[in-house]
Symmetry: C2
Subunit: 353 residues, 2 copies
DNA sequence: ATGAAAGCGCTAACAG
DNA sequence: CTGTTAGCGCTTTCAT
C-alpha cells in the first residue's frame, strides 16, 4: 500500500500513487548544494546568509515543495511561538475582541495563538490548561481569576508568564490585565440614582461559571446597600451563556413581579437587548416607564432603538495590553508581575433618561 | 543568573531562584523505577501497562510536576493532533458556531483546533495557510473556495485532508461541506414574490473578500432576472466585516433612493437588524410598508421586534460534518473526496408579511 | 558567511 | 507487560 517510507503508512496522500516522503531541509540542502545548516539559516529572516545563497535555497525549496517543519524546530529550539489563551466562549463578541487584540499584538513577533474555550466551566478550564501546557506555549492568558486548585497549580508551575484577564483577582497567579466588574456595576447604580431613580433591579449574574457577571451583581448589591437602597431586586437569567432570549424571559418575570421598578441593570448588553425587546412587546416605554442599562458595549447597544446605556470595558485593549505585557516579559524588559487596570467607560444613551 | 542548564537561560521562572530543568520522562522513569518507554505508555490511554505501574508512574509524575511534552511527541510520532482552521473572522457568531461544531466533533479523538482569521482577505489567508501548514496539522479546514494561486498550491500539496466550507466551489481542492449561497438568496426572492412583492432590493454583498455575500447577491440578481423582475436595486453596504451600523446606513440610502421598494433582502441578519433599526427611526413600518429579510439566523433575528425572516445555514452542523469527515478520512474509512451539501432552511418571520 | 557534530524529548520498531 | 535501540528534522554550539 505504501511501499516507500514507513512514515507515510496510512497517511493521507490525495491523488498520489506512491507515498513519497515529505522533503526535509536535507533534501533542499542537497539540491541547493549547501549544508542543512545554511538552509536553516535561509529560513530565518535575521540570520546571516548571502543574498545569492538565500535565493538559491528558496528556489530549491519551492521546486521540492518543501514546507518548513515547526515540530522539529520547536523541539530543538525549545520554542514553539505559541501563546495559549482560554476564554469562556468563542461565540461572544467581547471575548472575540480580546482575542483579536492579543492576536494582533503578538503576530508582529511571530507568536501564534492557541485558543481554547472553557464553556464557563472551571473543570473544563483545568482540562484545557493541561492540554495547552503540553504544547509548551511561551505564555498563557486566561479569563478570570477563579480556577480549580489543580488549574492554579498547573499555571503556577508552568514556568511561563501567566496573565489573568477581565478581572482583578485578589490572589493573582502572575500578571493581570483587567478591571473591577463590581465598580462598573456601582457606576451604573450611581448613574440611575443621579437621575432620580431608586427602585433598581439587576438582571442576571446568577449563571454558574460566569464570574464576571457574578461580580457585577455583587457590585450592584454592595452599591445599593451603601446608598441605603433596596438591593433585593435580583432577577435570575439562567445558565451561561446568558443571552438575548434569557434577557427577554427575565424581563417578563421582572415586569410581572416588580411592576414598580424604575430601572434595570442587565449583566450584559445582549441580556439588555432581550429585555428591551420584551418591553417593546408589552408596550412598556423605555426609558419613560423603565430605564435600562447593559454591559459590554456590544454593537447592538449603539444600533438598537432606543440605544442602550452601557459600559465599555475595552475588550480589544485588554488583549492588546496583555500582548504587550507578554512581549515585555519574553524580552526580559519586565521581570516583576504586573497588574494593569483598565478603566471601563460608562456610556449614557437613550435607554436611560 | 541561571547557573544550571543552558536551556533555561533567559527563560521565565516566576519566583524561582534557580532555573531547574523541566523534568522529562527520563526523570519520571528514574523515580518510578521503570524505563522511559513505560512512562510513555503510561501517558497513553490505550497502551498496555499494568494498573499498578501506571499508578506509580502518575504518582511520580505528579511529585515532579512533570508535564508531558507534545513537541517531542509530535516530532517522533509525526502526529500533532492539530486540525488547522481558517475563518474570515473570529468575531462572527456564524463562523464561531462552525468552529464550535468542529471543536466538539474533534475533541473526542483528541484533536485540537489551530485557528486563524483571514479578515476577509485572500492574501492574509495565503500567509495564514503557510503558517498553519508548518505546524503539520492532520487536516485543514478553510472557509470558502476562493484562494490565491499559491494558497491553492499549498493546500493541494499539503498531503492532508483539505475541507472547504460555507460554499460549493466549482473547483474543489478536496472535500467540501457547504451550501449554495445563491440558492438561498433565490429562495428569499421567491418568498417575497409568493407574497406579491416585486420591487425587491438587495443590501450588501459588495464587500471585497466576502465571497459568500457576493454569491448571495449574485443569486438575487439571477433569480430576479429569471422571474423577469428588476434586478438592479442593489444597495452597497461597504467593506467587510459588514454589520449593523452599515445596515442602518444602507437602509437610509435605500429609503432615499428607492422609496417605492416593497422588500429588502440583506446580506446578513446583522445588516437586516441595522436596516430595521433605521426603518424604526424613520417611522417606516416593517413589514407593512417594507418587508425585510436577513441571512444566518443569528440570535437577534429571533429576538428583535418584529422578528426577522432569515435563512438558517446550520453553521454548527457545517462544523460537525466537517469534523466527522476528517475523522473518517484519518481513520481510512473514506478515501475519495466528499462533497456534503447542507440544505439551508428559510424561516418566515414577522418582518415579511 | 558557512559547515560539522551533537542532541532536543519522545516513541516506532523490535525484542523478550 | 516491559525494555532496548535508534532516530524524527531541525538548531545549538563551536569551528573555520
Amino acid at each position: 500500500m505504501a511501499p516507500l517510507g514507513a512514515r507515510a503508512c496510512g497517511r493521507y496522500r490525495a491523488g498520489m500513487s506512491a507515498a513519497r516522503k515529505t522533503p526535509t531541509m536535507a533534501d533542499v540542502a542537497r539540491l541547493a548544494g549547501v549544508s542543512p545548516m545554511t538552509v536553516s539559516r535561509a529560513f530565518k529572516a535575521d540570520a546571516s546568509v548571502s543574498a545569492a545563497t538565500r535565493a538559491a535555497i528558496h528556489h530549491a525549496a519551492d521546486e521540492l515543495g518543501y514546507v518548513f517543519d515547526s515540530t522539529a524546530s520547536n523541539l530543538r529550539s525549545q520554542r514553539t511561538d505559541f501563546v495559549a489563551v482560554t476564554v469562556p466562549s468563542i461565540n461572544n463578541a467581547n471575548f472575540a475582541e480580546t482575542v483579536r487584540g492579543l492576536s494582533d499584538g503578538l503576530k508582529a513577533r511571530g507568536l501564534q495563538i492557541l485558543l481554547g474555550a472553557t464553556e464557563y466551566n472551571v473543570e473544563e478550564e483545568e482540562r484545557l490548561i493541561g492540554q495547552l501546557l503540553r504544547r509548551r506555549p511561551e505564555a498563557i492568558v486566561v479569563t478570570g481569576g477563579r480556577h480549580t486548585p489543580r488549574g492554579r497549580r498547573l499555571l503556577r508551575n508552568a514556568a511561563i508568564p501567566v496573565i489573568e484577564t477581565w478581572d482583578l483577582p485578589s490572589q493573582p497567579i502572575g500578571h493581570v490585565v483587567g478591571f473591577s466588574n463590581a465598580d462598573a456595576a456601582r457606576d451604573l447604580v450611581d448613574h440611575f440614582i443621579a437621575r432620580g431613580m431608586t427602585r433598581i433591579a439587576f438582571v442576571g449574574g446568577d449563571a454558574q461559571g460566569d464570574d464576571r457577571g457574578a461580580d457585577r451583581r455583587a457590585g450592584f448589591v454592595a452599591a445599593m446597600g451603601a446608598r441605603g437602597l433596596d438591593a433585593t431586586r435580583l432577577i435570575p437569567a439562567g445558565e451561561a451563556p446568558v443571552s438575548m432570549r434569557e434577557g427577554a424571559r427575565a424581563m417578563a418575570r421582572l415586569l410581572d413581579a416588580m411592576p414598580d421598578c424604575e430601572a434595570a441593570i442587565c449583566v450584559s448588553d445582549l441580556v439588555a437587548f432581550g429585555a428591551l425587546s420584551e418591553c417593546q412587546r408589552r408596550g412598556v416605554a423605555v426609558p419613560q416607564r423603565l430605564s435600562l442599562a447593559g454591559f459590554g458595549d456590544y454593537e447592538i447597544a449603539a444600533v438598537c432603538a432606543p440605544s442602550l446605556t452601557t459600559v465599555n470595558p475595552f475588550p480589544r485593549e485588554i488583549g492588546a495590553r496583555a500582548a504587550a505585557l507578554i512581549l515585555d516579559v519574553l524580552d526580559g524588559t519586565r521581570r516583576e508581575p504586573a497588574t494593569i487596570v483598565i478603566a471601563p467607560k460608562l456610556l449614557a444613551r437613550a435607554s436611560s433618561r
